[in-house]
């Protein structure tokens, strides 16, 4: 499990780097899907098979397909790659990357003495659904309202 975690983690990081540096948007999307799948494996290695499956189906599946549709609709194929390249000057990277690096360094710094080992006991679909239909039943209902809001907004904005 431990090895799986590190391998999947490395894949996730590498493919995410791919997402943000790619100039070909379709490639970037593929990298993103790869990254999400790798995270799903990480979930699995942490003993959370249910969310791992959801990550793969909903995130890497449904949501990414939505992206793909839009990319197709906007007709952003090969010809936008050059444009993307002109938009990515090295100097634009320095400041954001620096800030993110500082942020990361701070996180590493505060995690330095946080040493708790996870023993990945499987917390699977049973436990999650017991929560969802128990104390969190209101959250499920509210999530439906949230999706309704998103639905109505998206419907109104995207029509015509």
């Amino acid at each position: 499990m431990m090895i799986l975690f590190y391998i999947a983690g490395t894949v996730a990081v590498v493919s995410t780097v791919g997402v943000i540096v790619q100039s070909n948007i379709v490639h970037a999307l593929i990298y993103l899907i790869l990254s999400l799948l790798a995270v799903a494996v990480v979930f699995f290695s942490l003993g959370a098979p249910f969310v791992a499956v959801l990550e793969a189906i909903i995130y890497a599946g449904a949501i990414m397909v939505l992206f793909l549709f839009v990319i197709m609709m906007l007709n952003m194929g090969q010809h936008t790659i050059d444009q993307e390249k002109t938009w990515m000057a090295a100097k634009d990277w320095a400041l954001p990357a620096g800030l993110a690096a500082i942020l990361l360094a701070q996180l590493l710094y505060v995690l330095r003495d946080f040493q708790v080992d996870i023993v990945p006991n499987e917390v699977g679909v049973l436990e999650v659904s017991a929560l969802l239909f128990g104390p969190y039943v209101l959250a499920v209902e509210l999530a439906s309202i949230l999706l309704l809001a998103g639905l109505v907004s998206a419907y109104h904005l995207a029509k015509k």
């Binding site: 954001p96 800030l99 500082i102």
Partner: protein
Amino acid sequence: MQDLIWLLPTFPLLGFLCLVLTGGSLPRKIVAVIGAGSVGLSFLSAVLIAAQFLASGEDYFVKEVWVWMAVGEFTPGFNFYLDGLSLVMMLIITGVGFLIHLYSTGFMADDPAYSRFFAYMNLFVAAMLMLVLGDNLLLLYLGWEGVGLCSYLLIGFWYENPDNGYAARKAFVVTRVGDTAMAIGLFLLFTQLGTLNIQDMLGAAQQQWAIGSPLAIAAALLLLGGAVGKSAQLPLQTWLPDAMAGPTPISALIHAATMVTAGVYLVARTHVLFELAPTVQMLVAFVGLATLLMAGFTAMTQRDIKRILAYSTISQIGYMFLALGAGAWSAAVFHLMTHAFFKALLFLAAGTVILSLHHEHDIFKMGGIRKQLPIAFWSFIIGSAALAALPFTSGFYSKDEILLAALAVEGPGLLLWIGGVIGAFFTGIYSFRLVFVVFFGDSQGHQEVKEEAGWTMAAPLMLLMVLALLGGWIQVPLDAVFSSGAGHEEAPVSLLVHAVMIAAPFLGIGVSYLFFMSKVFDVDKLMANPLASSLHRFWFSGWGMDALYQRIFVNPFLYLARINRNDLIDSFYALLVSITRTAHLMLARTQTGYLGWYALSMAAGLVLIISLGVML
């Protein structure tokens, strides 16, 4: 009925609102009804409340109307406090106020700004009632500033004349000096004693401060500053004579009967503090003595009828301060009341004279009008008699009490008494000088005399005449209020003392008679003497106080202003403005409109605060 005490300021306030909101569009009749009627209603309720209060035999009565806000310990409220002192003040304000309002409906009949006049007057009455009835420092201060504002507005009522505007500003600025001292004093009391409630505060002061402790002295001094400013005592008296620029009913109401005595009220209300600071109390006595003498001298030399009365007001308030300083709190308030009667009477009568003589103010241009204006004449006779404290008039009783109290003061008692008697002598001179010059002798070629106006002006004069004569018999219910100061033993006083006190004003009247009536002595001949004439000039100018202030305050200030034209302080503000402007322009440039930049600023902000958090 007592529960309805909040109605008292509410009636005039409503009157004010009605008059202001209609903006002068109401017919005069209705304005008169609203203006005078609201104060009348207020007086009526005051009488009923007073009757009930006195019948109840309680020492005091508190009505909590509402709590403005309750922030922790800080709970200022609209609470009214009624005891003997505020009872007397409330009756004077509403009673005399009502008579003056009634008089004004006739006096101001020709004025184009009729409605505005009554609006201000009503606001004044409301503020003054707030001042005397409030049970906490905030209400007191609100009323204090409110009456100051109304005084300013009313002195400058005829604002077309720039002199009036100047007088109004002068009054405002000079009293502001005192007000600032008082505000600091109130703040000191609040922070030191931790309560806004006046009674609680006084109680706390009594417990926490020893007699003569520096805090008590500081607080009493600062309050005295406010009182001196409002009541036109030395050294802040210079605004009151100029304040006569306002319409005469204003002079009667604000600058004789009520507002200028607010200083006396303030000292009487906080007398506990002054008892804790005996040196300051002695200072009060000497301020009063100096003022009454100074103003007495000045009044003898004035020519403007209203200025004479103004100086006499200053002088009489000097007597009240003398009484306060002597610890005769009741006597001071008693004199405040009788003074309100006879001085209002004198001012209103003077208003009648002025109106009848087409706005003539110079007494030496009047003369011999007793036949044409009998009511005014008798008003002046009675008013002046009371002012000079002739026996059996109201002024006699109150002044008698004051002088006896002054005599009883340990140490400088005799000095104070002699000063007071000399003042009484001068009072006799100047008050009857006025009567003789204006009403006897020949007519000084003035134009024909207009008829005396209708009943609205006559009736208040009649009533005030009665009060000025008989007001001395009124028993003021102040014993409970000043119980702490009741230590004065009524020492037996020799007959000589009484004889001197009774004789002094008669002597003054005699002198006045010889100069201005029988002309046994000639003023002009006296004036030929260089010493006398320079003294006259000196006194006429009010002891040169205005010139002195011009020289030591105004001129240096103007000089500073001149050399500082491009100037330090201003450039400091200009610098502030340009700093904020520059800051604005720089910050506005950060609002680029670019999403990426905004996101970057968020990330930078996050990194910044987390760095702060991790490092600390």
